[in-house]
Symmetry: C2
Subunit: 409 residues, 2 copies
């Protein structure tokens, strides 16, 4: 059997910005980029079957390493043939590194993140800082790795870059990510700099362990591609330094991490993508609102993942061409129109706003299903339309037209 | 346009018992009987799309009048073309009368049912009885109708047989039911007898109002069939008297109501069905466990509805040929087999017990969806197989074989 290998090729580049359209080949099929990546945290896209994902036009599913490590456990997932076989998704797949969740769930679940040192090697000590009085931290970051308490049962865990790779190899996605520290944009320059050293050291260690694990595989096991994550907060010198260092390590592609203030994202992404090698794919982590997607694509991003479309959907927040609406608004109870008149998703083809409003008010499970189908269709198609506009050389016109309508309410 | 009318024809009768196979024609398609009727309480079968119902092989959906009356309101449902258009179910449909829910939810939600008199006409007074000290009743039964508090918001409502018909005409199902009082088998003979007088009077009033409403319809509106409900508790004389009186009123079919003690059901159903006219369909209300379905079919029942398959499913209780299993059992976490190896449902064709166990433990919405698909497929197919065994003249063998396997664990 000749297994398809990871590959990226650019089909078309824009002249006036960094935007490009391409194709990522993976052992489980192609991803036409730019593409939205759907989040299936625990090996399920919440409330949807894999058939619904195909019907929506989803190309890639990303599962969260942190969640699957804790439940059911990566060894169990491996015994079922990896997370995609487990959930019956036959297309391309990704896992994140677990870093973001270790900090935001394990570390800071329900409280302010406290970055407190705990190290296995005292020489790796970084100064203790910003710990709230009387608050027991759930995670401790050392230069070797992170110890944290599970948000599920309070059990103690220790994740290193090497461990993250081992877990992600068990989960078996086509594309995996290096273990990084995801910092808040509110952090000081000094802390960002210190954290960046750690993220770069962890990237190298992730790569080394990944290559060892790849070398142990036989020909029947699909190869996995490893993306290195660029950090650096909102600081130009750190972002550029990170892009440069991560570029030189030899990854298959790149993630751009960190939380962004809205006004920073455009510049931060541009700084990074002007340095990253053009011939490898770039994934802007955790971003998925329409405006941000345009910013990303214009600045050379190929992949985006975000829980916003499904999370918003489950609380009644729906995207329309004319902006977002909330189905809990009383006026929709008697509304006989579709969510979006031109939308070709299953929900819009078959149901009215009035029915959706009833399902949400009745707390019916089908509400989340139908709303998630619509929102994923909307965001997935938006990025697919951006791709087409790149191929058609009218990206700017498409963006202007779309955002004018979207902000028109 | 020539709209198809309600009709029932028997295709085959068994020699050694009351079992029969037939076809009910409705304006929205045929129902091959015996048939399981799927409950879609609030105009949605919980966690499932209408396409999933078709894929499962569901023939009829029954919505609950009480729930839709309270939310979103029957006038709103009517404005959307009835509950089936509202939920995008194009097949045959039913609504119950609301009686059972008025007593069990409105009356007794969260507490013991207190039957306390409240009447609009003092001459209709029945004696106050069995009221718990210090417990404010949520429903009061008079001979004219029932006043009750909504379990949703505590608002006060008053339902009469006429009002139930008006609501059910707004909801627009192909088959609707008379408003009845559903008594507990624990009630005294005297109370059952008194209640039965009320149920018969309400049946006549339901029919009269139904005929008035039908007469007001023009040719573009599908006719609705009205089933009269037989009550009488566990008492032979009352059940027979009820069957006789309800038979003579001229209904399109019959419901057999009341809660049954397991050991009573067979005899009670037989008493009734030996009296009910053979050429009209009979629906055993709220019954759906395998053994009870066999009892019903053997004793001449054509239709069954029950929330058990979907309610069990949502808490991890799954039917298999070898009996019921619970997916929360820890042993299933690592189980690579299907729920039921020979089952052809979507869930069994695509997922393992281990994945289902993971979804249930993770409280993922997809757990309820996949489990409901399996359970509905199982119960729906079981009744369809009973039908086939009647046609093939081997009902007893089929029952013996099935129950032997089902109880084998």
């Amino acid at each position: 059997m000749c297994m398809k290998q990871f590959n990226f090729s650019i089909i078309k580049k824009l002249d006036n910005n960094l935007g490009r359209a391409g194709i990522i080949e993976t052992p489980h099929g192609d991803i036409r980029t730019p593409s939205f990546v759907t989040v299936g945290t625990k090996a399920t896209v919440k409330a949807l079957t894999p058939e619904m994902l195909l019907d929506i036009g989803i190309q890639v599913v990303l599962a969260n390493t942190y969640h699957l490590y804790l439940e059911p456990g990566d060894e169990i997932v491996k015994s079922f043939g990896g997370f995609t076989k487990f959930m019956n998704w036959n297309g391309p797949s990704m896992t994140d590194s677990g870093g973001f969740q270790v900090f935001s769930l394990g570390a800071a679940y329900g409280k302010e993140l406290s970055k407190v040192v705990q190290v296995t090697d005292p020489s790796l000590l970084i100064p203790e800082r910003s710990r709230d009085e009387g608050v027991e931290p759930l995670a401790s970051i050392g230069n070797d790795g992170v110890s944290f308490k599970s948000h599920l049962d309070g059990s103690l865990h220790y994740i290193t870059p090497e461990k993250s790779m081992e877990i992600q190899h068990n989960l078996g996605a086509d594309i995996i990510f290096t273990f990084d520290e995801c910092t808040s944009p509110a952090e000081t320059y000094e802390y960002q700099k210190e954290s960046l050293l750690r993220t770069h050291s962890w990237a190298k260690r992730s790569l080394n362990r990944h290559l060892e694990l790849e070398a142990e595989k036989d020909d029947t096991v699909p190869k996995q591609a490893l993306f290195g994550i660029v950090q650096g907060g909102r600081h130009e010198d750190l972002r550029k330094e990170s892009a440069k260092q991560i570029s030189e390590m030899g990854f298959d592609g790149f993630g751009i991490g960190g939380s962004f203030a809205k006004e920073d994202m455009s510049t931060a992404v541009k700084w990074v993508n002007e340095i990253l090698p053009e011939d490898k794919p770039r994934h802007l982590l955790g971003i998925g609102e329409p405006y941000d997607l345009f910013v990303g694509v214009r600045n050379g991003v190929d992949l985006f993942d975000c829980v916003a479309p499904t999370r918003n959907a489950r609380t009644g927040g729906l995207y329309t061409k004319k902006g977002k609406i909330n189905m809990m608004n009383a006026k929709y109870r008697t509304d006989h129109t579709k969510i979006d008149e031109d939308c070709m998703c299953y929900t819009c083809k078959n149901f009215t706003k009035g029915y959706l409003a009833h399902l949400f008010r009745s707390k019916e499970m089908l509400a989340g299903t139908l709303a998630s189908i619509h929102n994923l269709y909307f965001i997935n198609k938006l990025v697919a339309d951006m791709r087409q506009s790149i191929l058609d050389n009218n990206f700017d016109e498409f963006e202007n037209k779309f955002m004018l309508d979207f902000n028109s309410k």
